[in-house]
């Protein structure tokens, strides 16, 4: 799993690629929460999944967790680029009832 974090003003853009299983999700969780903690002014999180080649329900848990972190500070959460398989699991859990889907 590869993770890149880009912060511009109050917006944090994260791109995940590779395999997002429980092992990788734990690492992603730690790194994203660190970035959010360091900059309390961040009020929008864009998570780009277009590089994800594998995802299971641990990825779903990590995504829902980050949604909660940013929602707690009243921020916006946008999920983009989920392809075939990741999308199937996200939809099974009805995630788009909670989080915004971006382009």
């Amino acid at each position: 799993m590869e993770l890149t974090i880009q912060i511009e003003g109050n917006v944090c853009r994260i791109a995940l690629s590779g395999e997002l299983d429980h092992h990788a999700a734990s690492e992603a969780r730690t790194r994203i929460d660190e970035a959010l903690r360091e900059d309390p002014s961040i009020n929008a999180l864009f998570l780009n999944l277009s590089g994800i080649t594998f995802m299971d329900s641990a990825g779903l848990g990590m995504i829902l967790g980050r949604y909660r972190v940013i929602a707690e500070r009243g921020g916006r959460f946008v999920l983009t680029g989920a392809s075939g398989y990741a999308e199937r699991i996200l939809k099974m859990a009805g995630i788009y009832a909670l989080v915004e889907k971006g382009e």
Binding site: D21, H23, F54, D56, S57, I89, M92
Partner: protein, 147 residues
């Protein structure tokens, strides 16, 4: 069609680094049936769920050995994932969508639902204090098999 039989048994340390190893082994073994990429992704995902559960729920991240037994019989791929961890008190409850005993670990409670959606049969046997077995089946289309 000739009956084709092949089997594989593996046990490995209950470490989260081994989750990707376990999926890879299961997929490489199932590849003998000439599955589609979609079949393989289904198998990789379901195996990842069951193996992760053994590591984090069964052994509570304290280590132990996870066992996978896989069988190919004609066009059926069967895989059992076992642990000798803490077991499940109420299996029907555990299998309900969104039920998780570990929300603090950001578990979504969707593991069993994913296994059921992606495989053609999931049976869970568990004895509290003894461990858990998850037995899953997948039918690989004959067309693919003969390709």
């Amino acid at each position: 069609m000739n009956m084709f039989e092949n089997e594989m048994h593996i046990s490995f340390s209950a470490l989260s680094q081994n989750e990707s190893f376990a999926r890879m082994v299961a997929a490489a073994f199932a590849a003998h049936l000439n599955p589609t990429i979609e079949d393989l992704t289904d198998i990789r995902t379901a195996v990842s769920e069951a193996v992760t559960n053994a590591i984090i729920h069964g052994y509570e991240n304290r280590g132990g050995m996870v066992v996978m037994d896989a069988y190919i019989r004609d066009c059926v791929f069967e895989i059992a994932i076992r642990d000798e961890g803490k077991g499940i008190e109420d299996v029907p409850l555990a299998m309900q969508p969104f039920y998780t005993s570990a929300p603090d670990m950001e578990r979504s409670g969707m593991g069993f639902s994913v296994m059921e959606a992606f495989m053609d049969g999931v049976v869970v046997e568990s004895t509290p204090g003894k461990g858990t077995s998850v037995i899953m089946k997948k039918y690989i289309a004959e067309a693919a098999y003969h390709a």
